[in-house]
Amino acid sequence: MNDAIALKAEGLYKVFGRNAEAAVDKLRAGTPRDQLGGATAAVIDASFEVMRGEIFVVMGLSGSGKSTLIRMLNGLHPATTGSVEIGGEPITATSPKRLREVRRTKVSMVFQHFALLPHRTVIDNVAYGLEIQGMGREERIARARKVTEIVGLAGWEEKHPGELSGGMQQRVGLARALAADTEVLLMDEAFSALDPLIRRGMQDQLLELQTELGKTIIFITHDLNEAMYIGDRIAVMRDGRIVQIGTPEEILTDPANDYVEQFVQDVDRAKVLTAESVMRPARAVVHTGAGPRAALTLMRDEQVAGAYVVNRDRSIVGWVRDRDVFDLVRKGSTDLTPAVKPDHGAVPADTALADLFIPSLEAALPLGVVDHRDRLVGVIPRVTLLAALGGEPEAAATASPRPDPLPTEMVDQLLESAVGAGAADAKEAR
C-alpha cells in the first residue's frame, strides 16, 4: 500500500436495473452501452488513483456518470463490481457498520444543492459531522466555530440556512465537510448552482483552503473551465467511461481522442496554459562577467537588439540593449555593468497566458520567464504567445519571420536622392 495514495478505485462498474451482473459481463465482452437490454450502465470500468493533497476533478456532461461515480466512492451507491479503497480501507464489500465508520472518519462530502438541515442553525449544521462522530456538544461547537470562521462565516453561526445566500449556504456545506476533518473531500458539482461571480470566489477560496489544509479533494463538475482552473488532474468522462486522465495542460495540448478534443475546443486556453508550457529556450543571454565585446558579438550572431543578463547561477539581473553595448565597446570599456537595465519584466513560470499579454507588450525583448528561484528558464516571443492561443504552439516555429526593415541609412539615402521634400516626413514617421 502506497502511503501517497489517498483513494484508489479499480474496475468500478455501476449498472442499474435487472441482471446487473450479466450486463457487466456483456460490457466486459465489448457490448456497447446501448445494447444491454433493460440494464443501464452508469459507470463502466473506472479505475484511477488520487494522491494525497491532490485536487482530482472528474469532468463530463450530464449523464456521463460522474455523479454516480462520486457516490460510489463513499458507498452511497454500492458498486456493481470493482473496488474502492480510501486510505487503504475498503469501501466496497464491507459491512454497513464499517462503512458508516469510514464515512465518519475518512471521507466527507459537499453537495450540489448544499443539502443543509434547514431546521438547524449554521453552527449546528457545521457541527453535524462531529455530532455523528459522537463528539460532546461543547467540543464540537468549539471546533465548528473555528471552521465557520475559516470559511468566512463568523457572525452567522446562529442563523438558519434559509437566511443565507446561495454562496454562503455552500460555504456552510463546505465547512460541514471540513469540520468532520476527514482526509478525503468529495465535492459533487459543489459550485454549479452558484452565480458565476460567486462561483469564482468559491473556487479561489477552495484553492486557498486546500493549500492551507492539504486535503485530498475529488471534485465533480461539468464546467471545463472550472475543471481546468482548480484541478491538479482531470478525468474526462463520457457515456460512463473515463476517456482520459491527465493534468489540465495534458488534456488541452494532447487530447486522447476526438471527443476530448472537441470538448476542450472552447476552453479558455489563456487561463489554463502557463508561461512554462509555451516558453522557448532563451538564446540571447549573457553572463554578468562577460565583457561588452562578447555581448555585442552574441547579439550580432543571434540577430537581436538586446539580451538578458544573468548571474552564474542563471538568476536574472537585467537586460542590455545593443546600442548601449555598442557605445561601451567604442569607449573601450571592459565592464558590461553600466549598460545593464534592471527592469527586465520577467514573469514567473506558472503565470497564466492571460496575464502575459501586458508584460509582453511592455518588454523590449521576448518576455523572460523565471522559476521560483528567479533563474531565467526561457523566453516567450510574442509570436509564440499568439500561436499558443491559436491552439498550435508549434506554429510559432514555422511562422514566417517578420521581414526585417531595410537599414535606415539605405532608406534615407534613397529617399533623399529621389524626392528631397519627402525625406523629412519619412524621418518623422520613424
Binding site: 457516490r71 462530502m109 463568523a154 457572525g155
Partner: protein, 319 residues
C-alpha cells in the same frame, strides 16, 4: 346462466372463524377501547361545561390567537345551549381515542412504507380498499366482533380514518430532499438517526396534514358509529332519522359542525407558528440564538479574529 360466487358466505365464514379463534383478543381490545373512551370522556365530562369551554378557549388562544379563542367559545356555548353538551363530549372522546389510535398505527406504517418499496406496494391497495369500501360495511363485522357499544364505533372509525395518515406520512418522508438524506448517510449517520433527525422533522408538515385528515375523517365516521350504539351526537342523529325529527337532527348536526371546525383548526395549527405559544417559543429561541451569537462575537473581538461582523459584510466578502 347462473354463476353465483359465494363471496358473502366466505367472508362470513372468515369472520366467524376470527370470532371463534381470537375472541379473547377482541374482548381485550374491547375492554381497552372502552377504558380509553371512559378516561377521555371523564376528563371532559367531569368539570362543569363552562370551565371546559374556558379551558378550550384558552388553548385556542395559545394555538391560533384571540379570534379562534372567541369563535371556539361561541361554538361551544351554542352546543351547550341546544342541550347537546353531553353528546358532544361523548363524540369528542370517541374521535380523540379513535384518532389517537389511528395516528399511532398509521405513522409507523407510513414510515415503514416510505423505507420499503414492497411494503409500500402492499399497503397502497389495502389503503385504497379500506378507504373506498362503504363505511357502513365495516360496522357489521365490527358489531359481530366487538358487540354493540363504543368499541365497534372506535374500531370502524379507526380503520376508516387510518388511510390518509399512512399515505401522507409516506409521501412526506419520500418527499424529503434526497440530497439532505444523502448528506446524513455521507457523514455516516445510522438510518434510525437519519429518520429521527432529518426525515421526520422535514416531513412534519405532511405528517401533520395526515393527522389533521385522520381527525376529520374520524369525526365524519362518528355519526355513522351512532348507528351501532356508540352514542354521542351520532346517536341523536340516528334517532332523528328514525323519528323524522328535523329539529333534533339539525341541533345534533350543527354541533357536529362546530366540533369539526374546532378540531380542524386546532390540528391545522400544529407547526404553523400561529398563536401565543408559538410567539413565546419563537421569542425564546431567538433570544437564545442571539445570546449565543453575542457570546461568539464577543469572544471573536477578544481574540481579534481576522474575519468578523456579518453586518459589515465581513462574512459575505465578495460573495
Amino acid at each position: 346462466m347462473d354463476i353465483r360466487i359465494p363471496v358473502g358466505s366466505w367472508i362470513k365464514d372468515f369472520f366467524d372463524w376470527l370470532e371463534d379463534t381470537f375472541s379473547w383478543l377482541f374482548e381485550a381490545l374491547r375492554q381497552l377501547f372502552i377504558w380509553m373512551f371512559d378516561a377521555v370522556d371523564w376528563v371532559f365530562a367531569t368539570p362543569p361545561a363552562l370551565v371546559v369551554i374556558a379551558l378550550v378557549a384558552a388553548a385556542a388562544l395559545l394555538a391560533r390567537g384571540w379570534r379562534f379563542a372567541l369563535g371556539s367559545a361561541i361554538g361551544l356555548l351554542f352546543i351547550m345551549s341546544v342541550n347537546q353538551w353531553d353528546n358532544a363530549v361523548d363524540s369528542l372522546a370517541l374521535v380523540l381515542v379513535a384518532a389517537f389510535l389511528a395516528v399511532v398505527i398509521s405513522i409507523p406504517l407510513g414510515i415503514w412504507a416510505a423505507r420499503n418499496d414492497t411494503v409500500s406496494a402492499v399497503l397502497k391497495p389495502v389503503m385504497d380498499f379500506l378507504q373506498t369500501l362503504p363505511a357502513f360495511v365495516y360496522l357489521v363485522p365490527a358489531l359481530g366482533l366487538f358487540r354493540i357499544g363504543v368499541a365497534p364505533g372506535i374500531i370502524a372509525t379507526l380503520i376508516f380514518a387510518m388511510a390518509p395518515g399512512v399515505r401522507l406520512t409516506e409521501l412526506g418522508i419520500r418527499g424529503v430532499d434526497k440530497e439532505v438524506v444523502e448528506a446524513g448517510q455521507a457523514f455516516g449517520a445510522h438510518p434510525r438517526r437519519i429518520l429521527r433527525q432529518i426525515q421526520i422533522p422535514l416531513a412534519m408538515p405532511s405528517i401533520m396534514a395526515g393527522v389533521n385528515q385522520i381527525i376529520m375523517l374520524s369525526l365524519s365516521m362518528v355519526v355513522i358509529a351512532g348507528l351501532v350504539g356508540a352514542g354521542g351526537l351520532g346517536g341523536d342523529v340516528a334517532q332523528a332519522i328514525s323519528a323524522l325529527n328535523v329539529g333534533l337532527g339539525f341541533e345534533a348536526g350543527l354541533s357536529v359542525v362546530v366540533l369539526a371546525i374546532l378540531l380542524d383548526r386546532f390540528t391545522a395549527s400544529f407547526g404553523k407558528g400561529l398563536g401565543l405559544y408559538s410567539r413565546w417559543r419563537r421569542a425564546a429561541v431567538a433570544k437564545k440564538e442571539a445570546d449565543e451569537q453575542a457570546r461568539f462575537d464577543a469572544e471573536l473581538v477578544e481574540v481579534g479574529g481576522p474575519r468578523r461582523s456579518p453586518g459589515a459584510g465581513g462574512g459575505g466578502g465578495s460573495l
